[in-house]
Amino acid sequence: MKQIYTTLFWTLLLMTLFTSCKPKPLEIDIPEESPKIVVNSFAAEGYIVLYLTKSFSPLADTADQDFVKSLGIAGADAKLIYKGTTISFEELPDSLEANGVYLAQVDNLAPNETITLEASADGLPPIKATTSALPLIEDFDFELVRNPFDSAYATLFYSFNDVNVHAHNYYAIAISGGKEEEIFQGVDTLRDLNTSKYVLFDDLEYPYATIDGAINILADPYDTLNISLAQINQEYYKYLQVSQKAGSFFSSITKEPINYPSNVEGGYGFFNAFLPYFARVVVRE
């Protein structure tokens, strides 16, 4: 019996020792990539808006607003080559609280016409990207109502026609501007974490010319939501698919590296000029 107590005593003593002997972590230097130009863009009727930033260190403090603002590239030389004409971007004033916003006026964006972006900035490698516009979808029917089964949700019922049933087409519906994030409210409430979301469509998954369905989003009555629908190309569709995978719950657990595709040569991001159908809607009771 005495032996057992002795063993127990030593066991506890040694375990205490163990807990105090956590080894000192080793240092490591991981080489970082030099900053490159990052392209974000969207098209509106008659304009293409460009937001140029630079890539940065993974160790940067992204909570620092001054640092985030400094990412915008001011004074860049950016231009579009469209239908054989060069169109220069104009930099918007800093008063937008973000450097690096540029605007180019492009009248009559023609579907499937190639648009090339070239940009350069001091100390950064130049970039080049090519895309093309796609037709605006005008027969977008939708209705936004409160979800009768779950009052926290609003449901967007939508319907639109595939632009060409003989071709392979892709679309994106985006909803933004819902109520503030409501993450886990106790363990009994497991909900979508994003109040702004987008849904991708591959027309091969829909046997008929009309694509319809419903999307739930967290929203309260009288919330104003922005809804858009755009036809996108395959390249951008794949980019957004990767983005969705990377943002998924499972990816956040496994932390597996996911490389985003890009159509920007010499830089990152995605240059697109897809014209969205855009609407602003208030959630009905």
């Binding site: 040694l14 080894p23 240092e27 991981i30 080489p31 990052v38 994003n194 657990i253």
Partner: protein, 783 residues
């Protein structure tokens, strides 16, 4: 590899050979001319009656010799000049046992079973070095890249928490690396973790780890020895690309009742064995249970209740001198149940995790003649895990399982001393149920129920090889294995050639060369950054093709007789196809549609291994060094460019030694150095808007596995005080320190805040960890 008429013919011919061989070979004995004498029998442990595997038997004064097979059976055929004598002396040796010489009259063939006494209980002294004999036999053999370890020879080595672990000892051999620190993952010669066939008494063990791999499923009290084959595969082995780990359980003492066990910091174990009917039938039962969670809680750490237990059992019955039956059983379970936090407060979630391993093997040894030995096995394996969760009134269940049922027939034909033929066949039916998902209520929106799949693949193999001396200096082991797998909609068949040759350069030097092809008809799919017991085994299908490899190796071996030390250097080159990886961003765990998420690619590995081993004397141990490269190429990963394998460790060094200060005091030490594991580093980031105007931080990564963690090294020491073995009850005390100089063994990268900036660090899992354990022995019929 698709089935064709040519393959059908090959199957038919090999099957015919298999079915008719016993008749032909059995008859061969009766036709022996009187100028031939056959001496056969078994070599056993004198204390327990257990068979001794790979014991050496040699004719004194000649170069004639052989070794026992996996069942302790040997056969020597004497012809020519040696028969001019009236009698010969046979020398029986086995490491850790007192060697024995027997005079054998040569008037006629004879069956001779010999019992060897363990060194600690010497009865008669025959001063012959067992290790020297063993090393000589190994040198003469065409076998290479093969290492055999007896459990009792490595039992005194220091270990994590004082728990001696067979797999962790194997990880110290050259060519073998572990995944992460302290875990039982094995990566052999640049292969993946799923390319190792782990057999426990011939049954496949699909998951060798307990407690997320920190313990292996092998209870040291139940295991007798292990053979690790990492190249020059005999045709009798197949089914995996990189290695075979053949673990044999104890058989059970045929003479006395015996109990032994141990109490450690993290787990305790016990083993009972004894005769059911003296000299005819015996049993062994061993059990083990962990309590690491209780110990850590007692030490003030907040850990969830997680434990494992396992049970090994074996019985054998000698029907008569020609027939013997064995039955082996293993069951192990990991259990995690979580419903309260560390302060015993209800957290509103019930989470449970169960992992089950079950194996059953029924074997029948039959001796057709003095030259022909057979074994027939019926084998069953079941591996399953399930995850159960309850959030309020919502439930989730995720489970996977593999169920195998197979049969195996092997023949050993000792044609003469210079030709040992093995042939046989096996069939196994695999039933996979990967990732069955069942959810309720709103959880279904996130994780829909899956339609349970029952994927069946029926695998078969027919093989034959001959291990033959062509001249005094040239021995060749050649053969082939015809393998195949039948899955829904497709049949895969392939011939795997096997060739190994030994050129004796001098009495103490040998050059060895080999080439072998291997096929693997299943895959284990896992995330590349974490290796979990929940990694899924998945069969080949119509679209997912088998893994296949060619391994070329060559080596030189030299014996330093004076120092009873063997030195070996080997080089290898391996090509692999049909390897599996997930696509980037694939959902690893809760996914029942795997095939859409899988990519197949190829790999190459090559390297050099250096090994010095001494088995006998006050100082025993080994030095191993591996210099290796391993790469992968998948069209859908890393832009199609070749990239280093995750465990492409350039240098691995292990120094393993035990010193017997006296008969009762043994000091042991292990020092291990490994280049760091590789990983894909984040080298930058940028902002991006999505169509809903969310701003996302997008990471920029290096090329796949382009960066290495820092190298790790560690010194473990232990001191064992052994009780007196001549007593009925004896106890051993063992104290040890894991990671003596408390050096971090990096396993991940962590970002830490340093003032106003951030920096990277590499934390280690285990620091200095002292341990103490008590092992006891009780033997009937001692004073």
């Amino acid at each position: 590899m698709v089935f064709s008429i040519r393959y059908a013919q090959q199957i038919f011919l090999l099957s015919l050979l298999l079915l008719t061989a016993p008749l032909v070979f059995a008859g061969d004995v009766s036709l022996d001319p009187p100028t031939k004498v056959v001496i056969s029998g078994k070599v056993k442990d004198a204390d327990t009656g257990e068979d001794l595997l790979f014991a050496t038997v040699s004719v004194v004064g000649t170069t004639i010799g052989t070794t026992t097979n996996e069942y302790g059976f040997y056969s020597l055929t004497l012809t020519g000049d040696v028969l001019a004598q009236a009698e010969i002396k046979l020398l029986y040796t086995y490491l850790g046992y007192v060697s024995s010489e027997k005079k054998v009259p040569l008037a006629a063939s004879v069956q001779l079973d010999v019992a060897l006494s363990p060194e600690s209980t010497k009865i008669e002294e025959v001063v012959v070095s067992a290790s020297k004999q063993k090393q000589k036999e190994e040198l003469k053999s065409a076998e290479m890249s093969t290492i055999r370890l007896q459990m009792k020879a490595v039992k005194n080595l220091p270990s994590l928490g004082g728990e001696v672990d067979l797999v962790k000892v194997v990880q110290l051999l050259p060519g073998v690396t572990s995944g992460n620190q302290g875990t039982t993952g094995m990566l052999v010669r640049g292969g993946s973790a799923d390319q190792n066939l782990v057999l426990l008494d011939e049954a496949t063990v699909y998951n060798v780890g307990h407690l997320f791999g920190f313990f292996s499923v092998f209870n040291s009290e139940a295991i007798r020895d292990v053979t690790m084959v990492k190249g020059a595969f005999g045709a009798n082995y197949g089914g995996r690309l990189s290695s075979i780990l053949d673990v044999r359980m104890k058989e059970g003492n045929l003479q006395n009742y015996h109990a032994q066990g141990g109490i450690g910091l993290l787990a305790s174990r016990i083993m009972l064995e004894g005769p059911i009917k003296k000299e005819e039938a015996s049993f062994v039962v061993a059990a083990r249970r962990s309590y690491v969670d209780h110990v850590l809680r007692a030490a003030g750490l907040k850990v969830p209740p997680y434990y494992f237990y396992d049970l090994n059992a074996k019985a054998n019955y000698i029907l008569n001198e020609h027939n013997r039956l064995f039955y082996s059983f293993y069951y192990g379970q990991d259990k995690l149940s979580l419903s309260k936090d560390a302060d015993e407060e209800d957290i509103g979630i019930n989470f449970g995790f169960n992992l089950n391993n079950l194996t059953n093997t029924l074997r029948w040894n039959h001796l057709f003649s003095q030259k022909l030995f057979s074994n027939f096995s019926l084998i069953h394996t079941n591996f399953a895990y399930d995850i159960l969760g309850t959030l309020g009134n919502k439930n989730i269940f995720v489970g996977s399982s593999i169920f195998d049922l197979g049969a195996k027939l092997d023949f050993d034909y000792f044609r003469n001393n210079s030709n040992h033929i093995r042939f046989g066949a096996s069939v196994v039916s695999h039933h996979f149920k990967p990732n069955v998902v069942s959810t309720s209520q709103s959880l279904r929106k996130i994780l829909p129920n899956s339609k349970p799949q029952n994927l069946i693949s029926n695998e078969f193999a027919v093989y034959a090889h001959s291990d033959k001396d062509f001249t005094k200096w040239l021995r060749v082991k050649y053969g082939a294995r015809l393998t195949g797998s039948l899955v829904t909609g497709k049949t895969y068949v392939d011939v795997e050639p096997r060739l190994a040759l030994r050129v004796l350069l001098s009495e103490n030097d040998a050059l060895k060369l080999s080439v072998s092809k291997m096929n693997q008809y299943m895959h284990r799919v896992s995330s590349s950054s974490v290796s979990l017991p929940t990694d899924l085994w998945y069969p080949i299908t119509q679209n997912i093709t088998p893994q296949s490899s060619y391994l070329y190796s060559g080596g030189l071996e030299h014996l330093f007789e004076t120092y009873k030390t063997k030195v070996g250097i080997e080089a290898y080159y391996k090509t692999m196809t049909g390897l599996i990886e997930f696509k980037e961003g694939a959902n690893v765990i809760f996914n029942n549609n795997f095939e859409a998420e899988l990519l197949q690619g190829k790999g190459t590995s090559y390297g050099y291994e250096f090994f010095v081993k001494r088995d006998e004397g006050r100082f025993t141990g080994w030095v191993g060094y591996t210099l290796a490269w391993a790469t992968r190429q998948f069209d859908g990963l890393n832009k199609g460019k070749e990239f280093p394998s995750k465990f492409d460790r350039r240098h691995v060094i292990s120094l393993v030694g035990s010193y017997h200060f006296s008969k009762r005091l043994i000091g042991s030490a292990v020092w291990e150095y490994q280049s760091g594991a590789r990983f894909t580093a984040q080298v930058g980031q940028h902002v991006a808007f999505d169509p809903a105007y969310n701003v996302n931080l997008i990471p920029i990564y290096s090329d796949r596995n382009a960066i290495s963690l820092s190298p790790s090294h560690r010194l473990d020491v232990s001191l064992t005080w052994k009780g007196r073995t001549d007593r009925r009850f004896s106890g051993d005390w063992s104290v040890g320190i894991y990671n003596l100089y408390n050096y971090a063994q990096p396993y991940k990268i962590k970002v830490v805040k340093d003032g106003n900036s951030f920096r990277y660090t590499q934390p280690g899992l285990f620091g200095l960890l002292p341990s103490i354990s008590y092992n006891f022995n009780f033997t009937q019929n001692k004073k």
